[in-house]
C-alpha cells in the first residue's frame, strides 16, 4: 500500500502541505482562530482523503462514501477536537478483506494522531430516528462529502432533508431536553469562576444549539451573525486552551485566566459578557422552537396560565408581556410591579419585555436614583414564593443595577480562590435560591433548618440582607461585611425603609460571618464560645436569622459546599447559642451598681440582655412608666406597631399577676404573640406583651384602647377578677392538633430557678392558661419569654416554688397539668 493509488482525489494538493505545528505557529503569530480552525479542517480533509485512497478505494470501488460530520462537517476542527467521520455504505460490510480494509483506514488516521470517532451506516439507517442515538441524526445536520461513492452520497442527499423535516419535532425536543439538562448540571448560570467553555451555559455547545435549531426551523443562523463577536472570542480562547494543554481541554482554569490578561478579573468580565449573549440567544431559540411544536395539552396549560393576565401584564406562552409598554415612560415603577408579578407566579418576563426595559434603563436609573418610598414595592417582590426568580430576571434585564447601582461593583466579580464557584453577583442570587429550596427540602438534616426558616416572620428583610451582604467585596476583601453594611445603609435610606427594619438588615449584613467563624474555628463544647456569640447576636430572633443567612451563604459558595459535616457544625452552633441565650436570661442580671451607674435604679436586677435588646428610647420610656407607677401603683402604655400592638405594664409584683394580665388581654379577644416579664431588685415588674388584634377591635373602636388600659390597670391592682372577664368569651372552635406539645424542665440552666420550656400549637388564651397553671401550682414566675412563630408557641418560664428550684415530684405533676392545657 506504499504506492499511491490512481483513483481520482476530490482535492489536489498544490501548496506545500500544512502541518499542525505550522498552524499553531500561524495562530500564535496572527491570533486568527477562524483561520486556524479552517486550516486544521483542510489538513484533516486531506489526511482522510489520502487514507481513503490508500486503504479503501481499491477494496470498495463503489458502495462506500466518506463523510465529515459534526464539528468536522462544519469545517470547525479545533486543535485537539475529535474527528467525526461517517462511513456511508450501501449494505452491511461483510467479508474479511473488506473489514480489514476498513480497520486499516481507521488505523492510518489514528497513527497520524487524529482522534477519530467513526460510525458506519447505510442511507436507510441515516434516515431513521434512533432514540438511543439521536446524536447521529444531529451530526448529520453538518454532513459534508469527502471521498468515495458520490452516487451513494447523492441518494442520502435526496432523502435526508425529507427525513429531517418529518422528524424535526422529536429532534427539536431532544435537543432542547438535552440542553436544559446540560444547563441544569451547571445550575443554569454562566457565572462560573472556572467555566468549561464548551459545556457551561453560554459556551460553545450553546452556539451549536442555535446553529442546529436554525437549520431545523429553516431560519437564518444567528450563531453566525449577531453572535460573531462572541463566537470569535470563544474560538480563539478554545484554540489557546487546546494548544496550552495539548489535548481537548475546555476548562478555563484560574491558571489559564492568569495567562490571558494582566488583570484576569477584568478579562473574565469580557468572557461573561459574550457568554451572556450566547446564553440568551440559545434560550430564546429554544423558546421559539418549542413554541413551534407544542401539543394541545401544553396549549391548554398555557391558556390557563394566560388567565393570570391583569391590567398591567399579559401572560402568553409562559412569558410575561407589558400590556402597554409605553407606560414605562410615565410610570417607571411599572417594572417593580412586573417583577412582583414574576415573583408571585414564577413566570419569566418575555424577551420582548426585557428589551423594552433595556431601552428605558437610563430613565429607570435616573428615577430610582432619587430617594423615594420604594420599599413597600420591593418588599412585595421579596415576599412572593418565587422571589429568587424575580431577582435573577431583574439582574439579567439590567433593572437590578438601575435600582441598586451599588451592585455595579460585584457584577461578574470574580473571587479568586478554589472554594468559590460563582461570581459574587451570581453567588448572591444563589443564596436566595438556597433559601427557597430549603423550604421544600426533604433531607432530614436540612429539615430542622427549614423549621427555623418557617419561624422567620419577615423573610423580605433576610433577602434584602442577602442582596447586599457581599456588595462590599468590590472594595477589596478585607472586612467586606462592614463595607457591605455601609453600602446597604445608603440603599435602604434611598428606598425609605423604616429605620427599625433598616437597622435590622444592616445588623444582619455586618454580622453575616459571625456564625461561620464560630462553626469553623471555635470549640463548640466550650461554654465561652456560645457566650461570645450570644454577645454578638443578642436575641433568639437574631440568632435564627443569622443561622438561616449562614446556611444560605455557605450553600451558595458551590453546589457541594454545604456538606453534612457543615450542616452539623452549623446546627450545633445554633443550638449551643440558643441554650446560652435562654440560660443568660435568668443567670446574668444587671448588678445594682451597674444600674445605678447608668442612672437607672429601675433596671437593676433585670437580665443583662434587657440592655442589649432594648434601645435607649425604650429604656427611657420604661423608666418614665416606673415613675408614673410610683404614684398610681401601676402604669400602662399601649403603642401601635406594624400590624400589632404592644402593651407595657409596670407595677409591683404579686402572685398570679402575669397570668392575670395575659387573661385580661385574651378577654378582649387579643392574640398574644410575644411577651417578656422581668422583675427588678425592688419587686417592681416590667411586663411587655405584643399582641395581634384579629377582630380589628382596637382599630375600629379607638375608644376600646382606653378601656383596655383601664382594665389592665384594675387587673394589675387586683381590683378585677380575670375569671369573670373571661367568662363572657366563648372558647374558640377546636382545631385539630397539628403538633405534639412538649414540656421540658431544666434545673441546671439557672442558679436559682427551674427553666420550663413549652412548645405547643398556639391558640387564643393559651398563655393565660399556662401561666395560671403555673401560678396555681404555687410557682412564682421570675422571667418570661414568649414567642409565637407560625402557629407555634414557644414559651420559656423561669419559675421557683417557695424561693427554690422545683422538686422532681412538682415537675412531674406540673408537666401533666401543662400538657393538659396545651391539648385543650
Amino acid at each position: 500500500m506504499s504506492q499511491k493509488p490512481s483513483g481520482s482525489a476530490t482535492k489536489t494538493v498544490a501548496s506545500p502541505r500544512s502541518s499542525p505545528g505550522l498552524i499553531q505557529q500561524e495562530f500564535v503569530a496572527s491570533g486568527n482562530a477562524a483561520a486556524a480552525i479552517a486550516s486544521r479542517s483542510a489538513l484533516v480533509d486531506e489526511l482522510v482523503i489520502e487514507a481513503y485512497q490508500s486503504c479503501l478505494a481499491a477494496t470498495f470501488p463503489h458502495g462506500i462514501a466518506v463523510l465529515a460530520v459534526g464539528g468536522f462537517g462544519r469545517s470547525e476542527l479545533f486543535p485537539h477536537s475529535d474527528v467525526d467521520v461517517l462511513l456511508l455504505v450501501d449494505k452491511e460490510i461483510q467479508g474479511d478483506s473488506r473489514r480489514e480494509a476498513l480497520s486499516a483506514f481507521l488505523r492510518t488516521l489514528w497513527d497520524q494522531g487524529l482522534r477519530v470517532s467513526q460510525s458506519v451506516r447505510t442511507v436507510g439507517e441515516c434516515c431513521q430516528l434512533d432514540s438511543t442515538n439521536v446524536e447521529l441524526s444531529m451530526s448529520l445536520l453538518d454532513e459534508r462529502f469527502l471521498a468515495g461513492d458520490r452516487a451513494l452520497y447523492e441518494v442520502l442527499k435526496q432523502k435526508l432533508p425529507r427525513f429531517l423535516q418529518s422528524q424535526r419535532h422529536p429532534l427539536i425536543k431532544h435537543l432542547c431536553d438535552m440542553t436544559r439538562s446540560r444547563h441544569a448540571k451547571f445550575h443554569g448560570t454562566i457565572f462560573h469562576l472556572e467555566p468549561n467553555i464548551k459545556e457551561t451555559p453560554g459556551g460553545m455547545r450553546d452556539l451549536h444549539l442555535v446553529h442546529w435549531l436554525s437549520i431545523l426551523r429553516g431560519v437564518e443562523d444567528e450563531s453566525l451573525q449577531p453572535l460573531s463577536a462572541a463566537r470569535e472570542f470563544l474560538s480563539s480562547l478554545r484554540c489557546k486552551l487546546h494548544y496550552k494543554v495539548g489535548r481537548d481541554n475546555n476548562l478555563l482554569s484560574f491558571g489559564v485566566q492568569e495567562e490571558m490578561a494582566p488583570d484576569p478579573a477584568v478579562w473574565m468580565r469580557e468572557y461573561y459578557r459574550h457568554a451572556r449573549a450566547i446564553h440568551q440567544t440559545a434560550v430564546r431559540h429554544m423558546d421559539l422552537a418549542e413554541g413551534l411544536m407544542e401539543g394541545s395539552l401544553v396549549k391548554q396549560f398555557r391558556d390557563w396560565r394566560s388567565r393570570l393576565s391583569n391590567s398591567d401584564f399579559t401572560v402568553t406562552r409562559e412569558r410575561v408581556y407589558f400590556r402597554t409598554p409605553q407606560n414605562l415612560v410615565v410610570d417607571p415603577e411599572l417594572v417593580l410591579r412586573l417583577f412582583e408579578f414574576v415573583a408571585r407566579h414564577g413566570v419569566r418576563p418575555a424577551l420582548d419585555t426585557e428589551r423594552r426595559m433595556s431601552e428605558h434603563l437610563s430613565r429607570l436609573a435616573a428615577h430610582f436614583a432619587i430617594s423615594r418610598p420604594l420599599w413597600p414595592a420591593i418588599r412585595r417582590i421579596l415576599a412572593q414564593p418565587h422571589a429568587a426568580l424575580a431577582v435573577r430576571t431583574m439582574h439579567e434585564s439590567g433593572v437590578l443595577l438601575a435600582l441598586f447601582p451599588e451592585w455595579q461593583g460585584i457584577e461578574s466579580l470574580v473571587v479568586r480562590d478554589f472554594y468559590h464557584r460563582y461570581t459574587v453577583d451570581e453567588h448572591t442570587i444563589v443564596t436566595i435560591e438556597a433559601i427557597e429550596d430549603l423550604r421544600t427540602s426533604k433531607d432530614p438534616a436540612r429539615r430542622r433548618f427549614a423549621d427555623l426558616l418557617g419561624e422567620i416572620d419577615d423573610l423580605p428583610l433576610v433577602y434584602t440582607a442577602l442582596l447586599f451582604h457581599d456588595t462590599g467585596k468590590s472594595e477589596g476583601m478585607k472586612d467586606h461585611a462592614t463595607m457591605s453594611a455601609r453600602l446597604a445603609e445608603a440603599v435602604l435610606a434611598r428606598v425609605q425603609m423604616p429605620d427599625e427594619e433598616a437597622r435590622k438588615v444592616q445588623f444582619l449584613i455586618a454580622n453575616h460571618l459571625a456564625i461561620s467563624v464560630v462553626m469553623n474555628a471555635r470549640d463548640l463544647s466550650d461554654p465561652a464560645t456560645a457566650r461570645e456569640l450570644s454577645t454578638k447576636v443578642f436575641t433568639h430572633e437574631n440568632l435564627k436569622w443569622l443561622t438561616i443567612l449562614t446556611y444560605a451563604d455557605v450553600s451558595a459558595v458551590n453546589p457541594e459546599a454545604m456538606t453534612p459535616w457543615r450542616l452539623e457544625q452549623l446546627w450545633r452552633t445554633y443550638v449551643v447559642t440558643h441554650h446560652e441565650l435562654t440560660r443568660e436570661l435568668d443567670t446574668d442580671r444587671i448588678a445594682p451598681a451597674q444600674g445605678e451607674a447608668a442612672g437607672l435604679d429601675f433596671v437593676a436586677g433585670f437580665p443583662t440582655r434587657y440592655l442589649l435588646t432594648h434601645s435607649a428610647a425604650d429604656v427611657d420610656r420604661h423608666v418614665e412608666l416606673s415613675e408614673l407607677s410610683k404614684v398610681a401603683g401601676v402604669a400602662v402604655d399601649v403603642v401601635r406597631l406594624q400590624g400589632t400592638y404592644q402593651v407595657t405594664v409596670v407595677t409591683t409584683d404579686r402572685p398570679k399577676l402575669f397570668a392575670a394580665l395575659a387573661g385580661a388581654l385574651s378577654s378582649f379577644g387579643m392574640n398574644i404573640v410575644k411577651a417578656e416579664a422581668f422583675a427588678n431588685n425592688k419587686g417592681t415588674v416590667l411586663d411587655t406583651f405584643t399582641f395581634a388584634d384579629p377582630m380589628r377591635t382596637l382599630e375600629l373602636n379607638p375608644m376600646e384602647i382606653d378601656r383596655l388600659k383601664l382594665t389592665l390597670q384594675r387587673v394589675a391592682l387586683g381590683k378585677e377578677d380575670v375569671k369573670k372577664l373571661l367568662k363572657g368569651r366563648s372558647r374558640p372552635v377546636q382545631r385539630l392538633l397539628q403538633m405534639q406539645p412538649s414540656v421540658s424542665f431544666d434545673s441546671e440552666a439557672s442558679q436559682s430557678s427551674t427553666l420550663v420550656e413549652i412548645v405547643a400549637q398556639d391558640r387564643p388564651g393559651l398563655l393565660y392558661d399556662l401561666a395560671s397553671t403555673l401560678s396555681e401550682a404555687s410557682c412564682n414566675i421570675d422571667v418570661v419569654l414568649i414567642d409565637t412563630e407560625a402557629q407555634k408557641a414557644l414559651d420559656v418560664f423561669y419559675v421557683t416554688a417557695d424561693g427554690a428550684k422545683l422538686t422532681a415530684d412538682c415537675q412531674a405533676s406540673l408537666r401533666e397539668a401543662l400538657l393538659n392545657v396545651c391539648c385543650n
Partner: protein, 112 residues
C-alpha cells in the same frame, strides 16, 4: 517512612497546621469527617426534644514523613490539638512501604 493519621477537633485545625509548619512539615491531606470514638456522641435537648448527636464533625489529617521525624511530629501534633477534654481525637501511625512521585518517579524519602 511513616504515615501519620490524626483525627482532631475541627477548630484545632489551624493551630495544628501552624505547629507542623513551624517544624517544617508542609505536605498533608485534610478531610472533613464525621464519626465517634468511645464517647459515642451525646444527646442534646432542643425545645424539649432530645436528639442524638452520634456522629460528631472532626477533621482528619494525613501525612507521610521520614521515620526519624515520627516522634517529633507526634509530639507537636498532639500538643497543638490538645484541649484536655473528651473528643480531642487520636493519632495513628503506619509503616509505609514505598513513596513514588508520579511526576518523575522519584522514590523513597526524596519523593515526600
Amino acid at each position: 517512612m511513616k504515615k501519620i493519621e490524626a483525627i482532631i477537633q475541627p477548630f484545632k485545625l489551624e493551630e495544628v497546621k501552624e505547629a507542623l509548619k513551624s517544624i517544617g512539615i508542609d505536605g498533608m491531606t485534610i478531610t472533613e469527617v464525621r464519626g465517634h470514638g468511645r464517647q459515642k456522641g451525646h444527646k442534646e435537648v432542643y425545645r424539649g426534644q432530645e436528639y442524638n448527636v452520634d456522629l460528631l464533625p472532626k477533621v482528619k489529617i494525613e501525612m507521610v514523613i521520614p521515620v526519624s521525624r515520627e516522634e517529633e511530629v507526634i509530639r507537636t501534633l498532639s500538643a497543638a490539638a490538645r484541649t484536655g477534654n473528651i473528643g480531642d481525637g487520636k493519632i495513628f501511625t503506619y509503616d509505609v512501604a514505598e513513596a513514588i512521585r508520579i511526576r518523575n518517579e522519584d522514590r523513597g524519602e526524596s519523593a515526600l
